[in-house]
């Protein structure tokens, strides 16, 4: 079955996109022509869908322009960095696991992309780290863009979906609850920034309550859209939480040890590997390390020194193992869901993409 390129028609508006009946029994899901990796190629369609939805629903031209600028900024980031995109691929993979195809979930992937973009902008504002495409735009306007992306567009998208009212109600409730939980996580993050005495458990908890809850929200939205029971949706939420928590720690490790330009070094962020090390130092060595961290904000040679020290003290390996623990938790939720192998293939691929020890089992290739 060919994927319908609905996003290429500029006349398509959001409320005409969904015309897929949710009556296809699970047992009859088609496998002919669709591969487990079909959602790997969804990114371009989702970005086009995001632009279409903005044009169709935002009546203020100036606001439309700012929102489209946000989309362009995200497209630039995606073009530079070929990472797996959880805000696109996770909802599609979860929906596919339940319903056997991902095409009906494309509008949800659009909604979760807009949601992610709002969260990302607020993160950048909190870090004092807005990307260059916002130059010339006042901070108030950027905040307004983030607020719009979080509080109206995804909710409007869900309300316009052609799905059962009970699914719609659950999705709207899920959105609100998820955003509240993430606000709590973000508050921990903001209060932890720059602190020298934060404990590893606090950082890990902050990741679970922020990135983890984002993954839980996305997975649960897809599960509710697919029509599962509340209990099953909660399990998908657990999966999303474990996957995104492992993904965030993995991303923090990548930023620290591999990235050509480390945002976390530049911002002085106290990510888990840094805090794991800080926590094991004597008072005297802690002061030296904190000075080095300050210096590393601007000096690459100090970053290299810190990387060597973290490797020598086993922090890289410990962080990799903590990632693996959360990957294992995600696998165990999939076992609880009792999905057959083809149904869980994309979800397993996502775990293997994050895991530093499972790369050989399947890489995520866009």
């Amino acid at each position: 079955m060919q994927q319908q390129n609905w996003c290429q028609d500029s006349d398509i508006v959001l409320d005409t996109i969904i015309r897929y009946p949710l009556t296809m029994p699970v047992a009859d899901r088609g496998v002919g022509g669709e591969t487990a990796g079909a959602c790997l190629h969804a990114v371009d369609e989702v970005m086009a869908g995001a632009r279409s939805s903005i044009r169709a629903t935002v009546s203020t031209p100036e606001l439309q322009q700012l929102l489209e600028k946000a989309i362009s900024g995200l497209e630039q980031q995606i073009a530079e960095d070929k990472a797996l995109l959880p805000f696109v691929h996770l909802p599609l993979a979860v929906y596919r696991a339940v319903r056997g195809e991902e095409a009906p979930a494309m509008p949800l992937a659009v909604a979760t992309t807009l949601l992610f973009l709002g969260i990302d902008i607020l993160d950048d504002i909190a870090d004092g780290d807005l990307p260059p495409h916002w130059h010339g735009v006042s901070l108030s306007e950027v905040q307004l863009v983030a607020a719009t992306l979080l509080s109206s567009l995804p909710q409007l998208a869900v309300s316009q979906m052609n799905i059962l009212p009970v699914a719609k109600t659950r999705m709207i409730a899920c959105l609100s609850e998820g955003l509240l939980k993430m606000s709590g996580g973000q508050l921990h993050d903001i209060r932890g920034a720059g602190k020298s005495t934060i404990r590893p458990e606090e950082v890990e908890s902050s990741v679970v309550h922020k990135s983890g809850e984002e993954g839980a929200l996305i997975a649960m939205l897809a599960a509710h859209m697919a029509g599962v029971s509340e209990e099953t949706a909660q399990l998908y939420g657990e999966f999303g939480r474990a996957l995104s928590t492992s993904g965030q720690i993995a991303t923090d490790c990548y930023d620290l040890f591999q990235a050509a330009e480390s945002k976390d070094f530049a911002n002085g962020s106290r990510t888990l590997p840094i805090v794991l090390h800080l926590n094991r130092l004597s008072e005297k060595d802690r002061k030296i390390f904190l000075t080095q961290l300050d210096e590393a904000r601007h000096k690459k040679s100090t970053r290299a020194l810190i990387q060597r020290e973290l490797r020598a003290k086993g922090v890289l390996r410990l962080s990799a193992i903590i990632v693996e623990v959360y990957c294992q938790k995600a696998r165990e939720v999939l076992d609880k869901l009792a999905l057959a192998t083809p149904e869980r293939a994309d979800l397993d691929h996502m775990i293997n993409h994050v895991s530093f020890f499972s790369k050989r089992e399947g890489a995520w290739d866009r």
């Binding site: 990472a83 794991l276 094991r280 790369k359």
Partner: protein, 67 residues
């Protein structure tokens, strides 16, 4: 018999060549012998760890999940 948690495990790995050798030979037996205090998910995760990988090899496998 000592009891170690995940962080202590890594401290031993970083500082004790004999421990590293034992973990590479048979991680699970070594952990049980050391009386490791690990939760079920931690134990199952550690079974998936390839202890033969060097830190540089682990580092080379790092990739982003979030952009």
């Amino acid at each position: 018999m000592g009891q170690i948690n995940l962080k202590e495990l890594i401290d031993r790995w970083a500082n004790d060549p004999e421990f590293r050798k034992a973990m590479r030979a048979d991680a699970e037996a070594t952990l049980r012998r050391e009386g490791a205090q690990l939760g079920p998910a931690e134990y199952r995760a550690l079974r998936r760890v390839d202890w033969s990988l060097s830190d540089e090899e682990i580092q080379s496998r790092m990739s982003r999940f979030f952009i």
